[in-house]
Structures are given as C-alpha cells and as structure tokens.
C-alpha cells in the first residue's frame, strides 16, 4: 500500500512538477500562463502519434517537446506581439488543444475513436537507478520509473540556477518585476517574454510526453483532465520559485496518488476522494495569498 502510493505519487508529481517548472519562467516574466493544460494535452497527443508511427519513444519525447514549443510560440505571438489578454488567450489554447486533438485523433490514428490504445505505442523505457533498491522501505518503489521522472527532479535545481544565477534569469525577473526599468537597462522585454513562453512550452511538452508515454502508454480525449490547472496552481503557490513550486507539485501529486490507492479500501465514495487534490490546491493558494498579504501589502 505504502509502496504503491509512493510509486504512483512520484509519477503523478512528475507531470505536475515538470509543467509547473516551465510555468515558473512565464510566472517570473510576469505572465499568467493558464495554457499549461493545453500545452500538455497537445504534446501528449503528438508524442503518442510519433511513437506510434516511428516506434521510437525518444522521438516521441522530442516531438512532444517540439509541439509544446510550437504551440507556446503561437500563444506568445498572440499575447506578446498582438497584445491579447493572456488569460483569455491561454484558455483559448486549452480549448483549441482539446478540440484539435479530438478532431485529429481519428485522422491520425485511422480506426480509433475517443482513445488510442495500441501495442504500437512504444513507451519510454524504465530506468534502473543502481543502488537505489538497497535503500530500505522507499528504495524499490522509487526505482524503475521513466527517465523523465528522475530528470524532472534534476530540473528543480537547474531551473533555480537559471532563474537566480544567470544573466538570462536576471533578465526574466527584471522584465517581470519592472518592465520599464528592464527596458531602460537595455533588455529586449518582448524577446525575454517569447523565451519564457517557449521554455514553458518545452517543459510542458516533456510533461505531456511523460504523461502519455511514461506514465501511461495511450492517448485519450481530454486525458489531462485538469492536471495543467493543478500545475498552474503549483506555480502560483510557489510564485515561480522552483523549490516551492516543486513542493506544491509533490503535495498535489501525492494527494492524487493517495486518492487512487486509498479509494478501494475506504468506505467514502470515490467522488469525494477525487475531490481532495482540487481542495488541497485551493487551500494551498489561500495559505500562500494570506501569508503574502501578511508579509507585504499586495499591489491591489
């Protein structure tokens, strides 16, 4: 039981964590990127399609990242260059991703309706971390997951480093905090915004490929079912600071895993257990906004 929750929690958290780390870039550049959901969904679709047609999961992963990047750049064009409302345009991307994947599914995978489950979809290989099994209790359940699971953990310090220890990260935060000052300092604000959107797209693309090729090996209509919004809640919870964002992702992921694993043993109806992650996300937001309010006056 405990081992199952640990293994499932790690897998759930990975999708949320990787997408949310991508969202940290847009958060820090001062944009509410609610499109994580659509970015994950569209890349989950293309990752499965590429793996299905080419038989190579790594190509699927790369294709997922490329799809995330392409969709994010379209969104960046509409928001940054055309000056559209980022929330409305982000919701539009989510709707477009949902509609387009449904529309393309029977065209891309002849004969399938609603979901693609096939032997031809090659999943990402399981990675065996040598020596991890010898750690008592937690070692085995944490071992033998997709490489994205372990890569996702390494991304936390990496993104922290990029955002807080590099010139690019400084530019991102400068544009987010004070666009006028950043411009005065010679930073091309729009270019930085494009870069932030692009990075969020690549990260969500990897998260989407992990969802459809690492965690599961299938694609079904609207298979993300809100995971992108949960990831966005993690971004808002940590205000784009990767360690905190990671913490949020872990909490949401493990809440979801506990729900599924405990669902069979408890007498509470399944629907109520499924509510837990959403409620946890809302509570986390409240705690955060209240704390932030206590520390400093928020700009109204």
């Amino acid at each position: 039981m405990f081992a199952d929750i640990l293994a499932a929690g790690l897998r759930f958290s990975t999708t949320i964590n990787v997408a949310a780390l991508g969202g940290s870039f847009t958060q820090k550049v001062g944009i509410w990127n609610v499109a994580l959901e659509g970015l994950i969904l569209s890349s989950a679709f293309s990752a499965v399609w590429i793996s299905y047609t080419s038989g190579n999961a790594w190509l699927g992963l790369a294709g997922g990242a490329a799809t995330g990047l392409a969709v994010a750049l379209i969104l960046a064009f509409v928001v940054v260059t055309l000056g559209a409302d980022e929330i409305i345009a982000g919701l539009a991307v989510n709707l477009l991703a949902s509609g387009a994947t449904k529309y393309l599914l029977p065209i891309a995978f002849g004969g399938f309706q609603g979901a693609v489950v096939s032997e031809d979809i090659v999943p990402l290989p399981e990675m065996h971390v040598p020596g991890l099994d010898s750690v008592p209790l937690v070692g085995e359940p944490l071992n033998d997951h997709s490489p994205v699971v372990y890569g996702g953990l390494l991304l936390v310090p990496l993104v922290t480093f990029v955002l807080y220890r590099t010139g690019f990260g400084l530019a991102v935060r400068a544009v987010g905090d004070a666009p006028e000052a950043a411009r005065a300092a010679g930073i091309h604000a729009d270019r930085i915004r494009y870069a932030a959107f692009g990075l969020s797209g690549i990260f969500c693309g990897i998260a989407g490929a992990q969802l459809s090729l690492g965690f599961l090996s299938l694609f079904s209509q609207d298979m993300t079912s809100g995971v992108g919004y949960i990831a966005f809640a993690a971004v808002v919870f940590g205000d784009g600071y990767p360690p905190l964002v990671f913490l949020g992702a872990i909490v949401f992921g493990f809440a979801q895993a506990a729900v599924i694993q405990l669902g069979n043993t408890l007498t509470i109806p399944a629907e109520f257990i499924s509510m837990v992650p959403y409620v946890v996300a809302i509570i986390a937001l409240v705690v955060l906004s209240y704390r932030r309010r206590a520390h400093r006056l928020q700009p109204a």
């Binding site: 387009a100 065209i107 959403y278 928020q298 109204a300």
Partner: protein, 381 residues
C-alpha cells in the same frame, strides 16, 4: 501581473471581433481540408443547420437561451473585475437543484416555476460563496479557486445523481435524474420546439443590465471597479463591495442558466451536463465585447454553430469537435489589440477611413432606441 501595453489599441473593437471570427472560420476551413472534406460544402451545411429552416432556427433559439444567461453572467463579472471561471460548476449545482425540486416539489404550476428560478439562483450563488469569501478574507485571486471548484461540482453532482437520484430507466451516455413533472416545465413559445419563456426573460435581463451599466450609479461603480481598483477606490467607491456584488450576480446568473436547460429543454439533469457551457459563455461575451445587448446576437451565432455541428457530423461526416476548434480559434484572437506584422497596413487603412469619414457630413439617421454602451471592458483587467 499582466503584460501592460501603454499604447492605444491599434485594432478597434469591431475590427477585432470581425477579424477573429474570420480567422476562426479560416482555421476551421483548414481543419476541414486536413480531414479531407470540402470547406465550402461544410460551411453550407453549417449555415443550413443553424438557420436554414424554421426547425433549425427554433433549435438555435433553444440552445442559445441558457448560453445567454451564462454569457451575461461572465460579462457582468468581467465588467466588475471578477473573473468568474466557475460558471460551469455553478450551473451544474443549479441544474441538480432544479431537477430535484422539479421532481419532488408539489406546488401549483406558476408558483413552482418561480421557485425553480429562485432555487437556481441560490444554488449558483452558494457554489460561489467559497471563492468570494476567500477573496474577501484572504485576498486569494478568484481565478483558480472558481475554476478548480468546477471539478469538485462535477464530482459532487456525479455522486448525487448516481448514488441518490438516479433514474434507472434513463438511458443516456451518462447517468441522469428522473424527468421533472409537467408543472415544472417552462411554457413553450414555438411548440413543438422547446423555445421557452426563459428567452424573453433573458432578453429583458440583458436590456436591464445594459441600462444599469450605462445610466445608473451602480453601473458606474461597476465599470470603475472593473477598470482600475485603485482609481475607483480613490474616487470613493467601496470596491470590495462592488466586486462581491459583481461576482454574486455573475454566479446567480450562471445558476439561472440551469432553468432553461433543465426546466425548458432536457427535463432532467445528467452528470456532466453541457460540458462546454462556460467556454461558450466566455466566447459569446467576448464577441459581444462584454456588452449585454450584444450577447443576444453573439449567443445566436454560437448556438447556431453548435447545432449545425451536429448536422455536420450527420450529413457531412465531419466530427463535431470541428466546432470546438473554430470556437477556440475565435477566442484566441478575440482580445488582440495590435496587428503585429500587419500594423502598417492597419494604420494606413484607418487613416484613410478617418479621412473619408470626416469629409462626409454625419448622415441624419434615426437615433437608436437603445443607447449603445461604451465599448470597454474587453481589454481591461
């Protein structure tokens, strides 16, 4: 936290909406070609399915009615600075309430229907109380809580319908409640089609909303709060109170959408009812520039598109999801304020237009009966 553009919008509201609808239809045409069909034929089937016959038109009116309630809900909230992303959940909870009362409550006809309207309003409001309280007491932005509560509502209603109130004889895609009694059904205006009393009611509500926004102090406070909270507060407006009123009104209207849907159309509530209602409401409100009167034609356009989507699936063998793609593309471009690479063209066209207009004398025409509210709100958050 927004990308702020200090320049005046290059693209005017009317051009923006026209262009986004055109782009949406163009994206749809590309999708049709990818699917291996003829776009001209597809759009002809779409138009005929929406407005081509008395029956098609009546069905478009039927579908448009709940959409008008939900779109007005979004518009009122948005104008007052409240982003109600919980319309779906408020609607679902209200739909269950209407179905439950419609089955169980024994009251004479007219009174029962009045109770159903009140119950739907209350249910919608109750579902928004938590996000309202979080914003007021903890300063939590309403966007994420209202949105996540949609999932909670869907799960709750699924539980209630499946475990407590299932009709074993109902055979839909999902589980549904039993049918409501005759007395709980709204009177029909175009029998046998389910165009009901709710249609004139929402049209009247839209007119009232337009009047309030344009002509009253309450409307002025709403507009100021929606445009800039610090500025409104500086002007002596109790912005927190206005925000709560806007959100509460929005939630009540979202709940009211359940009356035409359940009591006027479906005669029961099902799990996952009208799953696209909120996005549709957002797109209608955007096309209408959040203008209550504009919502009426915009809702007819979108409802027509959706009904026609069914015709498309049946007659032309093109998946219904094409309509989702078109709607998504329309929303994507609906709030743009600049023309990007086309900017020089737009500026030149505008200059010519302005010069042309100033040469012609203002044509003496009849003044419109209903004053058109100022076209604001779309870009202000």
């Amino acid at each position: 936290m927004t990308v702020r553009h200090h320049l005046t919008p290059i693209v005017g509201p009317a051009a923006r909406i026209g262009a986004s609808i055109a782009l949406g239809l163009a994206v749809g045409a590309i999708a049709v070609v990818i699917g291996g069909h003829d776009p001209a034929h597809a759009y002809k089937v779409l138009f005929d399915g929406a407005f081509g016959s008395y029956r098609a038109f009546a069905n478009t009116l039927r579908t448009a009615t709940p959409l008008m309630f939900a779109a007005l809900a979004f518009a009122i909230g948005f104008r007052g600075g409240a982003f109600n992303a919980g319309i779906q959940g408020q609607f679902a909870v209200a739909a269950f309430a209407v179905a439950w009362l419609g089955v169980h409550l024994a009251l004479p006809g007219g009174l029962l229907i009045l109770v159903l309207f009140l119950a739907a309003m209350t249910a919608g409001l109750i579902w928004a109380l938590v996000p309202i309280a979080l914003r007021v007491f903890f300063h939590t932005n309403e966007l994420i809580p209202t949105f996540l509560l949609n999932y909670v509502a869907a799960l709750l209603i699924h539980y209630l319908i499946v475990q407590k109130f299932k009709d074993p004889l109902y055979h839909g895609i999902t589980e549904g409640t039993p049918q409501i009694q005759e007395a709980a059904r709204l009177p029909q205006l175009m029998p046998p089609y389910r165009v009901t009393l709710a249609l004139p009611i929402i049209v009247a509500l839209a007119l009232v909303a337009a009047y309030v926004i344009r002509r009253t102090v309450v409307g002025y406070r709403l507009e100021m709060t929606g445009r800039s909270i610090p500025f409104a507060r500086y002007g002596g407006i109790a912005t927190s109170r206005v925000w709560v009123a806007a959100m509460a009104t929005s939630a009540m209207l979202a709940g009211l959408a359940a009356v035409p849907a359940v009591s006027g159309d479906q005669y029961n509530a099902v799990a996952g009812m009208t799953p696209t209602l909120m996005f549709d409401a957002i797109v209608v409100s955007l096309i209408a520039l959040n203008n209550p009167i504009g919502i009426i034609p915009a809702a007819l356009f979108l409802a027509g598109l959706q009904n026609a989507g069914l015709a498309l699936q049946i007659d032309a063998d093109i998946p219904l999801s094409l309509v989702t793609v078109i709607i998504g593309a329309i929303i994507l471009f609906a709030t743009v304020r600049r023309a990007g690479p086309l900017e020089p063209l737009v500026v030149a066209a505008r200059a010519r237009l302005v010069r042309g207009a100033s040469n012609d004398a203002q044509p003496p025409g009849p003044t419109p009966k209903v004053p058109v509210p100022p076209q604001v709100g779309g870009e202000i958050r």
